[in-house]
């Protein structure tokens, strides 16, 4: 594969080239005490020298101790946003219906052209995108708006050179090294106090773009540094999903442990909202006051909402215990049967952004203890 070394000027050239090729470039930046994804035009917008301390229900940004005078741009990991925001947005119109004489005229929602370039996609996020691909465009019924956005997408992935305490991608086999479907991958290198980026192409479009950038040839030392950094990141993982989680869950449907989760869980739905693989939606009719036309919208939903399991006569899952069990067994067990992989990539967002810090790995450990 084609590769080169860029300095920060080269990184800027990459961002500029993406805008010039008609992409809306989105990337990490600090906003309201967090690293979020927003429009990115300048390297200067990236979170230079920022690390994110993460624990159950806790997220804080700090300045890094600068190694050899370099202010790293990618020392943070994943924040409250995920790329799902853009590919599978929290709300979108589906179609519109109008009274037309005696009948109804139905029109699909305007097919908006979306050419995003995601800058700074982590390994766990690529894995999550691959999972949503299987769900939303992999089967018989393809979500056309999702497909359009996915086809227009250019992905610049980033290898993680640091893990947060909430990360567990190693145990989910999704990271920290970038793999799968991407256009370019970056690795931030700082050895010897020289701030530079190893850029490697992962697709034809990526190669074409790489060739136009002001890079120099990648030396073996750079590749060795990348490998060492990734190995160190993998060793940093504090959390792990226990092996055999799926079997354990299948065997724990009647566990008394669910009630212990229910006592702590707020069923607020933060976990499903921040999860990059959770895809559930509901639809809503937005009628005109005169009832002569209506728009159908699709909105993000959560298995923690009472209405989610509503059928004639009432909701099936009324208790928090039933809802948490539904969520975790879907993620780690039924997802496998349904889509051929787990529905969790180990990104840790649901742990950090749960206001009471409920931890998916910890709950599996506790279920195992309850079993033993």
């Amino acid at each position: 594969m084609l590769q080169c070394i860029l300095d920060t000027g080269g990184l800027q050239a990459l961002i500029t080239a993406l805008w010039e090729s008609g992409h809306q470039v989105l990337g990490p930046q600090v906003r309201d005490d967090a690293v979020v994804y927003a429009r990115l035009r300048e390297v200067a917008q990236l979170p230079a020298g920022i690390v994110d301390e993460q624990e159950g229900g806790r997220y804080r940004l700090h300045r890094t101790v600068i190694p050899e005078g370099v202010r790293p741009l990618f020392a943070h990991v994943v924040g409250p946003h995920s790329w799902k925001r853009f590919l599978h947005p929290p709300q979108e119109p589906l179609w519109r219906v109008e009274m037309d004489g005696q009948g109804l005229a139905i029109q699909p929602a305007e097919a908006k052209e979306a050419r995003y370039a995601f800058f700074g996609v982590r390994a766990c996020e690529l894995a999550a995108m691959a999972i949503q691909d299987r769900v939303l465009k992999g089967g018989e019924h393809v979500d056309s708006a999702y497909l359009r956005r996915r086809q227009g997408l250019f992905t610049v992935a980033v290898n993680c050179t640091r893990a947060a305490d909430t990360c567990f991608c190693v145990s989910m086999e999704s990271g920290p090294a970038v793999k799968g479907d991407f256009d370019l991958q970056l690795t931030e290198l700082t050895a010897g106090g020289e701030h530079r980026f190893l850029l490697e192409a992962g697709s034809e479009a990526g190669e074409k773009l790489l060739e136009r950038l002001p890079g120099r040839a990648a030396e073996q030392a750079a590749l060795d540094e990348k490998a060492a950094l990734l190995a160190a990141t993998a060793r940093q993982m504090k959390r792990a999903m226990p092996a055999g989680a799926a079997e354990l869950l299948a065997d724990s449907l009647d566990s008394s442990h669910w009630e212990s989760v229910a006592a702590r869980c707020l069923h607020c739905g933060n976990c499903t909202s921040v999860c990059p693989t959770c895809f559930c939606t509901r639809t809503e009719e937005r009628s005109a006051l005169d009832g002569r036309s209506s728009e159908r919208w699709r909105l993000q939903d959560s298995c923690f909402n009472e209405g989610f399991s509503y059928i004639h006569g009432g909701a099936l899952r009324r208790s928090a215990a039933a809802r948490y069990r539904q969520w975790i067994t879907h993620k780690l067990l039924h997802w496998r049967e349904q889509f051929g992989s787990a529905g969790c990539t180990g990104c840790g967002r649901c742990i950090t952004w749960c206001p009471v810090g409920i931890d998916i790995t910890e709950e599996v450990h506790r279920l195992a203890e309850a079993k033993a």
């Binding site: 005490d33 979020v36 707020l266 607020c268 909202s273 009719e285 009832g291 959560s302």
Partner: protein, 254 residues
């Protein structure tokens, strides 16, 4: 015949009714779709009942109001309460937790002329209510949605889940997780338009308890974040102090 709409006021500040006038553009459309038969905030002209839809603002705080709400119920095909006062008793329901005589002495130099019940209670404590529109004040978008749903004979799209989901849909960074700021959002119903968290403040609970709130779990977290029991007790006592879930959680910290 256009359906007849009536707007009624009990013990309240008028803010929720004003949301209807605030609809501006949509108000004209609305006036075309319904006959506004009783709405004193907008017009002195009134028409006799019965009414197809009554919107009721305010809590029941006097004996006269007790009688009047029964009469309105009899006159109304559908009765919808609007705002924290009508749905939970409002800020004035704080008196339910205190000795009423003492409260009167504290507030008025000559309380002899006060003709009031010892409690301020939601309309649903007195008559059957068909739907409750939450908020202090209500959200005008939700009000229009409610009337729209009524006119089109469908269920209103008014969710009962948590404020947190509004944060996440809007992309707002959680103030509790990122700054340790107390927030009632996880136990508060969505619908306000994410006003407080969007400007970096914790949610005050204006929209009342969300569906099946687990306030005890939230309180434990708030204590971990450093809130003392006295503050915790007051924390649930705002506009919806008398909503059962908030009232009970507050009482646990007395």
């Amino acid at each position: 015949m256009k359906p007849k709409l009536a707007v009624w006021k009990f013990s309240s500040c008028d803010g929720c009714q004003l949301s209807l006038l605030d609809c501006e553009e949509e108000l004209l459309q609305l006036a075309g779709a319904v006959q506004i038969a009783h709405f004193l905030e907008a017009s002195r002209a009134t028409r006799p009942g019965p009414y197809d839809l009554s919107l009721v603002e305010g809590s029941i705080s006097t004996a006269r109001e007790q009688a009047q709400i029964r009469w309105i119920r009899e006159q109304s095909r559908q009765l919808v309460t609007i705002g924290a006062c009508a749905t939970a008793g409002g800020i004035q329901a704080l008196r339910n937790l205190l000795d009423f005589d003492e409260v009167q002495q504290q507030v008025y130099p000559q309380p002899d002329f006060i003709d009031s019940l010892a409690t301020a209670t939601p309309v649903s404590d007195h008559v059957k209510v068909d739907f409750e529109l939450r908020g202090c004040p209500i959200d005008k978008g939700q009000l229009l949605e409610l009337i729209n749903a009524f006119l089109n004979a469908r269920r209103p799209n008014i969710p009962a889940w948590s404020q947190c989901q509004e944060c996440k849909a809007a992309g707002t960074v959680c103030v509790m997780v990122s700054r340790g700021e107390p927030c009632l959002g996880p136990v508060t119903q969505a619908g306000c338009g994410n006003r407080c968290p969007a400007v970096g403040r914790g949610c005050y609970g204006c929209f009342g308890p969300a569906e099946r709130p687990n306030a005890a779990a939230l309180s434990r977290r708030l204590q971990e974040l450093g809130m003392d029991p006295a503050s915790l007790q007051r924390y649930y006592r705002l506009f919806n102090a008398n909503a059962p879930a908030f009232r009970e959680e507050s009482a646990r910290h007395e």
